[in-house]
Symmetry: C2
DNA sequence: GCACAATCAAGAGCACTGCTCTTGCTTTGG
DNA sequence: CCAAAGCAAGAGCAGTGCTCTTGATTGTGC
């Protein structure tokens, strides 16, 4: 049968998917630290040693979950972008930021897996790099379109930063001026600073209406990278 | 003897300190996840059960380390502030930011303990709150002084954010205008976004000269909260 | 000064973890 | 059709957090 081997392979990927699903369930329920291979196997009605045929170690399972999480976040961000692709760049930017925030708030433990502190002992394998870049590339794309369209506001860079800025621009977006790329990378990191503080509870007893606060902060970031933000307003005094 | 009970108490705090020191050593070496009570006890030449007389659980030990880490970071930030207290507010701001960054880079695992994802299963006990606030209060103080001195630039707030802004200002800094407090809190979170990305490796293969990049980004944050940053330059185009 | 009470270290033990190795059974491909 | 590969299961090892019990040491009120 031509499906013979296919059946094996299919069964294999199905079991692997079931393992990941159950692991994700436990991750959402108890956090990465309490994710137990034995508990996953138990819940799936198999013995723990059988599970090692699908994932060679606990860390490899976690790595698979990390990649999936990056992809899921990337998809959420891209879906949000698709919905507002006709609007102004600043609105696109804010929409993507809000999508990241909402994704993170809905799955704090999965978010912690990718943007919290790196888990157990491991160092992120290079497999995760492409998936991890998706949100960043999306933000770059928004600014690139705006820049191609009618340009963006730019900051002057101090001389000491210019070589590094040129390096970054060459690697990430050769069609954008270094001045823009620098603030873009900064805004990228700062966006996740905002999300981190909210997800990890640092805003408890500090910010109450976190939704509008975040929308405003994301708008400020858009303005900072040079996108014209409606009602952002100039500084006074 | 008057030192009799004192001797007991002193011995107790000494042993507790030794436990924390050894735990910190293992934390720095292997990370929070691999910190083991038994290994700490082993290294200290005692049996694991004896350790439970000093810390009722592993999580309590970690909590103690968290508080110490917050305090250590707070001290580092305040020391950096003290060294530049005569200079401009923007320079003070940047100095404190850089102190935070350097502290974090020197002790990534301790940093992860407080600003990474919350560890194992716990929720941060309220004991940590005062220690956690030190860096934030320091930053607020810098802006407050600048404001009292000659005022700071302010953003206009959208109407929807104004109630929340007033709330935050009332709680955190009644003597500052809500417009300033809002951007201040945002900048606070964004600062740790920058540090997080660097410490946790998100800048690998993206930013090379991270020191000057960070200094510039911190300067931009200072400018954003309204402090006049030397050579920050206005936007073009 | 002494007995009582509190404090402490130590050991044994429980339930759990990640992981390995060996034993058999089923499926697959030549 | 038969050897080879894939797979589940079980036993077992070393390690973990934590509890309970047993003795010894220490500090304090009578």
């Amino acid at each position: 049968m031509s499906t013979a081997q296919g059946a094996r392979a299919r069964a294999r990927t199905e079991v692997a998917a079931a393992i990941k699903d159950e692991a994700r369930r436990q991750l959402a329920a108890e956090g990465a630290a309490k994710l137990s291979l034995r508990a996953v196997a138990r819940e799936l009605g198999m013995v723990s040693s059988a599970l090692y045929r699908y994932f060679p170690s606990r860390d490899e399972l976690l790595t698979a979950l990390i990649i999936d999480a990056y992809d899921s976040l990337g998809e959420a961000a891209e879906a949000a972008y698709a919905k507002v692709s006709g609007e102004s760049p600043a609105r696109q930017w804010v929409a993507v930021c809000e999508a990241v925030r909402e994704w993170a708030l809905a799955r704090p433990h999965e978010y912690a897996l990718i943007y919290g502190s790196p888990v157990p002992g491991y160092t992120a394998p290079s497999t995760t790099v492409p998936a991890a870049a998706r949100v960043g590339l999306l933000l770059i794309g928004i600014v690139r379109d705006a820049y191609r369209d009618k340009g963006v506001a730019q900051w002057k860079l101090p001389a000491e930063l210019q070589p590094e800025a040129r390096r970054m621009a060459e690697d990430l977006a050769p069609d954008l001026p270094p001045e823009v790329v620098v603030v873009l990378i900064g805004a990228w990191a700062q966006l996740f600073g905002l999300v981190n503080f909210e997800v990890f509870g640092q805003f408890n007893r500090v910010v109450e209406d976190r939704g509008t606060f975040f929308r405003h902060a994301a708008g400020q970031l858009a303005h900072h990278v040079g996108l014209v933000y409606p009602q952002s307003g100039a500084k006074e005094r």
